[in-house]
């Protein structure tokens, strides 16, 4: 599955049939999810991998006096894809926003704990938060390309905002759009405005935009929840490929998606109080052999 040519209908068809046949034969039981998880080809380690991963230590989060996250600690290995799953409202999005310091934009926000990027706490006093966000990128739930810029300008917007120089603009644009799986669809219309694209295309444009600044970590907050299944599959293929050079953390509501794309999974749960991480482990283990009863209940669909 390396470098799929996403415009080739046949390959899409094959994946689609594989997907639907999985569902038809065994429903969404954990074993089928586990088999999907196990079916992911193991990747050869790549020499181009950026960074040494991200580690969250004892993360708590508050909005005012409302304690919303309690004691989350995860060590995200470099080059891995980690899915954060759990029912709505248990703090997954809040957690992911503490990882690139977007949490602090809410006026009543407060936190505790550390987030270590390459060994250094990103919340240490005196840190240049803009540099952090260049290394830890984010793709949002609702695609948000800049409407006043063309497609090409959108891809370059990260560099423009941070006034970074690049030796070859056109090459960078082409590379990022390729990696995001959008190049073939827009290569002739780089000068058109970003708003003219479909939802799935816009989201891939946002991914390309994030890639242009060469992040070490890419955070994805339910990137496919507003998209159609076709775009979703394309983006999942992109994720697989991107994980060769960076660490990816993806929040998702869709357990099948988690099973398809991730190496590790963390299960979040809130019982009315702050969200906690109930279990963390290899994706195949979480889905086939969860240790905690609550995890099992969730992945078998008994709630959530």
């Amino acid at each position: 599955m390396s470098s799929p040519d996403l415009s080739a209908p046949k390959q899409m068809q094959e994946r689609h049939t594989e997907m639907t046949s999985n569902q038809e034969t065994s429903g969404t039981s954990p074993s089928s999810l586990a088999s999907v998880a196990a079916a992911r080809t193991t990747k050869a380690p790549s020499a181009k991998r950026l960074g040494t991963g991200l580690e969250a230590k004892g993360i708590h989060a508050w909005f005012g006096t409302n304690h919303v996250l309690s004691d989350i600690s995860i060590d995200f290995a470099s080059g891995s894809v980690t899915a954060l799953i759990g029912p709505s409202g248990c703090g997954k999005s809040t957690f992911i926003r503490t990882l690139n310091r977007m949490h602090e934009f809410i006026p009543t926000a407060a936190m505790a704990g550390e987030v270590l990027l390459d060994g250094k706490d990103i919340y240490a006093p005196g840190t240049d938060v803009t540099k952090i966000r260049l290394k830890i990128g984010m793709v949002f739930q609702k695609p948000n390309p800049f409407p006043s810029m063309t497609i090409g300008e959108n891809v370059m917007s990260g560099l423009r905002l941070s006034q970074l120089k690049t030796s070859n603009k056109d090459d960078l644009i082409e590379e990022c759009l390729h990696r995001a799986g959008l190049w073939n669809e827009v290569k002739d219309r780089l000068d058109e405005h970003g708003g003219a694209l479909s939802g799935g295309q816009q989201q891939r444009l946002c991914i390309a935009r994030s890639l242009a600044v060469s992040p070490h970590v890419l955070l994805m907050d339910e990137p496919c929840s507003a998209l159609d299944p076709g775009s979703t599959l394309k983006i999942e293929d992109t994720i697989a490929e991107l994980s060769e050079t960076m660490t990816i953390i993806i929040v998702t509501h869709n357990m099948q998606q988690a099973a398809r794309v991730s190496d590790y999974t963390a299960f979040f749960l809130s019982d009315g109080g702050p969200g906690e991480m109930v279990e963390y482990g290899k994706t195949s283990d979480i889905f086939s052999n969860p240790r905690d009863k609550r995890t099992e209940n969730y992945v078998t669909g008994r709630f959530g």
Partner: protein, 354 residues
């Protein structure tokens, strides 16, 4: 791997590590102090003297030093960010200076003219050089009250009807009407006065009167009331209207008995803003109402005083006492505007908690 079966852990205190630390804050203050010192040095060494060069130079130095601090610390993007932050703060400060100056001047100079008789006497028995404690602006208060009331009687219904036309009926002319209301709010007040002169005073009455002034003021009031009322009516959720119609109500009953009462406090806000808009208008009054020294209760005949006219006349006498009277009049006028303003604000914030 975490599981929730561990015993109760101590919950750490919430922190905001992104807030500027003590070190960062003192660095910012240091930038300001350094800028002030630098400009003192420059002012001392060059022929430029006085407060103005000092402030301008301080501003410029603050921008430069902020830039350098960013450049040395982190790089050019931070440097530019720092400079822009200082620049925007300076712009804000410059915008606030006239407000502070106006308030200070009006209060300090008008205060001397305040006395109990101010509210009860008019100027019919006084000359411009009489001591301040004699005479008053009763005639001006009465005049303003009468003229604004008449203007309100005309402008309030027309303004609210316009707003209803735009939001409830949404007729064919809605877009042009909205544009016209906007255009009407741009009509200079002196043109409104000229219009009343040309349409009514010249052909018909040929004299000053309070009514004419009120008519001119109503032209200025209508757009303010219409716009505010429209905003307020748009905020009323459609469910209310649908409920009224579903109960079999005619459109006019729905509007009159459901929508308007729901928007009541907003409409009162519109009225208050309309009053605040015209209470200080001078130009049309100078043209068509004149303003005597004696109180005049009759809007149909004879010049009618008003607060703005009182102020205008007092200042043009030029004596010290008259000037103080003028500032006192301005203080009274300003106080009215401030009171009306806060009244409108309190009403509109209460409205949200329906």
């Amino acid at each position: 791997m975490m599981s929730i079966n561990t015993p109760e852990k101590k919950i750490p205190t919430p922190q905001k590590p992104w807030k500027p630390s003590v070190a960062e804050r003192s660095q910012s203050i240091a930038v300001g102090v350094l800028a002030a010192l630098a400009s003192i040095a420059v002012v001392a060494l060059t022929p430029m003297k006085g407060l103005l060069p000092f402030l301008i130079l301080s501003g410029i130095f603050a921008i430069i030093i902020g830039y350098l601090k960013g450049l040395i610390g982190r790089g050019s993007t931070t440097a530019k960010n720092n400079s822009v932050g200082v620049l925007l703060g300076l712009g804000m400060t410059i915008a606030l200076i006239p407000i502070a100056s106006i308030l200070h001047t009006t209060i300090s100079r008008g205060y001397k003219g305040l006395h109990w008789g101010l509210w009860l006497n008019d100027m019919s028995l006084n000359t411009s050089t009489d001591p301040i404690a004699e005479g008053g602006l009763y005639h001006a208060l009465v005049g303003t009250l009468i003229m604004v009331s008449i203007a309100l009687v005309i402008a309030l219904p027309l303004g609210i009807l316009t707003a209803i036309y735009l939001t409830e009926i949404k007729g064919r002319f809605a877009r042009p009407v909205r544009f016209l209301v906007q255009a009407m709010s741009g009509v200079p007040s002196i043109v409104a006065g000229l219009f009343i002169m040309s349409a009514i005073v010249y052909p018909i009455t040929k004299t000053f009167s309070g009514l004419m002034g009120a008519l001119a003021l109503s032209i200025l009031m209508i757009p303010t009331i219409a716009r505010t009322a429209e905003e307020v009516l748009l905020l009323i959720p459609n469910d209310l209207r649908e409920a009224g119609v579903a109960l079999g109500g005619t459109q006019w009953r729905t509007v009159a008995m459901v929508v308007l009462p729901a928007a009541r406090s907003g409409l009162v806000t519109a009225m208050i803003l309309g009053i605040a808009r015209v209470v200080g208008e001078t130009a049309p009054i100078l043209l068509v109402s004149g303003g005597g020294d004696a109180v005049n209760y009759n809007p149909f005949t004879g010049p009618m005083g008003s607060l703005p006219f009182y102020v205008w006349k007092s200042f043009f006498f030029g004596t010290e006492e008259a000037t103080t009277r003028g500032w006192a009049g301005l203080l009274v006028l300003l106080s009215f505007v401030i009171i009306l303003f806060f009244l409108a604000r309190t009403l509109s914030t209460k409205k949200v908690k329906r």
